[in-house]
Symmetry: C2
Subunit: 551 residues, 2 copies
Amino acid sequence: MALSSNYKSILDNAIKAIHERTFFAQYPEHPKAYGEDGASKGLEIFSAYLNNEFKELQQENPSAWVSEEVSPFTQEKLEIQYPAFDVEKTVIRSARAMNAWKNVSVDDRAEVLIDSLERIAKRFNEIAFATMHTTGQAFMMSFQASGPHANDRALESLAMAYEELTRFPQNVTWDKPMGKFNVVLEKQFKAIPKGVGLVIGCSTFPIWNSVPGMYASLMTGNAVIVKPHPKAVLPIAIVVAEIQKALSEKGLDPLTCQLAVDASDKLITKELCEHPLVKLIDYTGGSTFGSYVEGLKDKVVFTEKAGVNSVIIDSVADINAVVQNLSFAVSLYSGQMCTAPQNFFIPATGIKNGDAHMTYEEVVAAFKEGIAGIANNPKMAAGTYGAVQNELTLKRVNSLRKMDGVVLLDSQNVAHADFPNARSISPIVLELDSKDFGIYENELFGPIVLIIKTKDTDESIQLAKDMTQKHGAITCAAYSTDANTSNKIIEEMESVYAPVSLNLVGMIWVNQHAAFSDFHVTGGNPAGNASFTNPEYVCKRFVWVGHRRIA
Amino acid sequence: MALSSNYKSILDNAIKAIHERTFFAQYPEHPKAYGEDGASKGLEIFSAYLNNEFKELQQENPSAWVSEEVSPFTQEKLEIQYPAFDVEKTVIRSARAMNAWKNVSVDDRAEVLIDSLERIAKRFNEIAFATMHTTGQAFMMSFQASGPHANDRALESLAMAYEELTRFPQNVTWDKPMGKFNVVLEKQFKAIPKGVGLVIGCSTFPIWNSVPGMYASLMTGNAVIVKPHPKAVLPIAIVVAEIQKALSEKGLDPLTCQLAVDASDKLITKELCEHPLVKLIDYTGGSTFGSYVEGLKDKVVFTEKAGVNSVIIDSVADINAVVQNLSFAVSLYSGQMCTAPQNFFIPATGIKNGDAHMTYEEVVAAFKEGIAGIANNPKMAAGTYGAVQNELTLKRVNSLRKMDGVVLLDSQNVAHADFPNARSISPIVLELDSKDFGIYENELFGPIVLIIKTKDTDESIQLAKDMTQKHGAITCAAYSTDANTSNKIIEEMESVYAPVSLNLVGMIWVNQHAAFSDFHVTGGNPAGNASFTNPEYVCKRFVWVGHRRIA
């Protein structure tokens, strides 16, 4: 085996892109790049999975078969049966496979892993349907987030790891002049992997949030166990199956990457986390479990937890463009993105709109209208919202009506032409006072927008900063036409390690973090302790050991 | 300010050296490179410090003056008075200074810090005497370890940080083709420092072990508070004073780097560690306090704690060369180096010496003779051993006589021609059985050698590995003329993240870790969680934050 020229050029481009951080995508985001009839074929393949055992994994002797997925669009069970395994057996298999994998050269590991990405790319359409019917994402988002965008993030992570692993020479002669003679040592530098890696997936982005950790751990020589959310298995099961095929084809142990499916009534996550051979944990999900993971001893942990994302409205060039942009940002996938804005801080004294003054009430009315505009546009609503993944999200929306705030815009059921049973609702918009931090300091996951009346922009900044420091934030959208205020927002928000997206309008939204350019999560506030893909994200997965011997 | 061409070339060479990992030294290790009469002048300057207040620090309004240093060579108090400050005041000063320092450009930070190293280099001779009379190191080791070797490690750390900070562009235009139009964002990537850094020094290597963390934290934009061991203040006080001068000269706040001296009866280390503004901690010292530091919440911690370093004797080309090398390695600075070997694992069945067989007893006798040879050579002994820093080390040596092992060679007082009162002893050599792990699993800091009889080399490897995994190790010396056995030793030891020095003979010892080449401590076993200077050592000290705005 060796790194083929084709894959080497993919890798070289990715490494270049990481450094340049300009726009780069290895995998085009348009479905048509993957075949004209890709979607219909993908639907066919997806449909064939339903009501069947998932047999593509090269993991033998399951102890049970489990099935728990329900489509948020049809609200029917998918009835796909996945093999489940004893935790001890899974971990031992992983450790055994790692004994061989860690000795596979860095170039050969890259060859196998890039090959797996190329294989996955051929299945983007069926993965899109699998994602749609587990997460509730609309088709286009399912395609992009679980397909090209996820593959790009995996490649980014692999490329960053490759660069770190090849940063120092493998062998070097150290030749020290001592006056009359030299001391000469042969040194060997080895990147020794940390151990079995566990990747814990979430229900809303089962691939996008999992593959960076998987590819970072695998590339650095660790074996990986992927523990998906019991209600979002199929997308990542296809990915794991393709990684296993790429491994087997090169004569390597497919158990180097395993899927560990469990059931909600018998979760195995803690048992996996606490297994002494598990040394690395990548986690995406709620803060309570995330803090448990971060508190584990002798584990290297990478988390993305909850956060409270702010919008600071100070002054705008054109309120219509801003309203349009933010209304879409809060509506997209019903606010079920970790990057979605939640808290809109608007000064009671109003804002500048171009050269004109706009009262607080006018600004709030504009947002209400903008958000309602999508809800009341049947063509747009269903495709923008998708469906709600988790029943609890509906309950959360309902519970907000009983809160102290004023319901500016109520959530309503949204009809999907193709899916009469879709669990789909429009956003609820609640108006609060800055004193109501007991409400807005929580991440209210889902289609929930809070408009918070502040004294002035300084208070808006202070509250956004406080929320970030105490509860974490992954994004901050800010609008100001004043250079000093913009700088102040940036300085204050970066002091709590939140990136600011300033004055976004048009076809780009604060929710979007692009591979090869945007670091996703900074690792500096409670929203998570890791950032993909910065150097720390990969170099904590192995240890440099330097041996020496007399030349 | 800007990065001057002279300093830029120092930096460029250092960055190149980090990548090549061949021999490189910015600061020559020979005292004569720093002036023919450097030593006598250095002694004069050092002597002038005695019985005086240390007035070089630019830290005003001390709350007290403290003095606790005692020369291990004269056993007399140095009576140098250092200013002590209220912890709260020190931390607040640090945080305030950091507000400016974090906004100093990366190039300007490098300029100031390299300038400080150049200033320190002019004072290597007085630093050598300061080190000698606080640590007990002989003059030549004091000169090298606290002078050129320390400066090289500081420069290495600074250079690694510089590379990480400049790894990504500061500003970039992200231009994404969307079909009929492009989305264009201006992105700004900023490395935001973590916060006030605390560097906790040790009594045996007050500079060498402290400067890597200091320069890594400072270079990445953090302010630093240096908390020295109360009995080893002067060497690092001179270093801090020179950093402060380099800062002031460029109009920057000297409080960016402060010295926080305390007294043994009123230690301030925990108060500093637990201060909410202290975000980074570099620690060198014992395991108990090290584990406390590692357990602190919301701090990024870099530790070097205790470890149990092994020697595995399997087979040798020439026993005399091996005995000579290892006898010196255990004798150098009386085993008070974190890299010094302690546990010699020798198979009961004997070893191969060239083509001949050597019984276990013969091997043990050879080591006993080799170690005694230094003790019995008055010219060599004093200069090799130096003096014992801590009274407790003498007690430890004494207590070993009561242990279960056989005292093969007893420790004896060593006369120093120039210092009749020197606290100096030769090593004690104890023979143990492999069952006596209750004794040899401890780091027995000081001139203590344990010879452990094992069944065979496999058991030697197993025990060395177990000790490393459970108690940590910074080095492992191994001797084998067999390729398979050598590979096995390397594989097993690297699996617990200990570097192996194989078959070292001649003028190179396992104790020596060279800047720009050897990673010191791997971070992978209980001997410490950090390695200077690998990429992780610097990139955990700041957070990448990327802002975006519409172009």
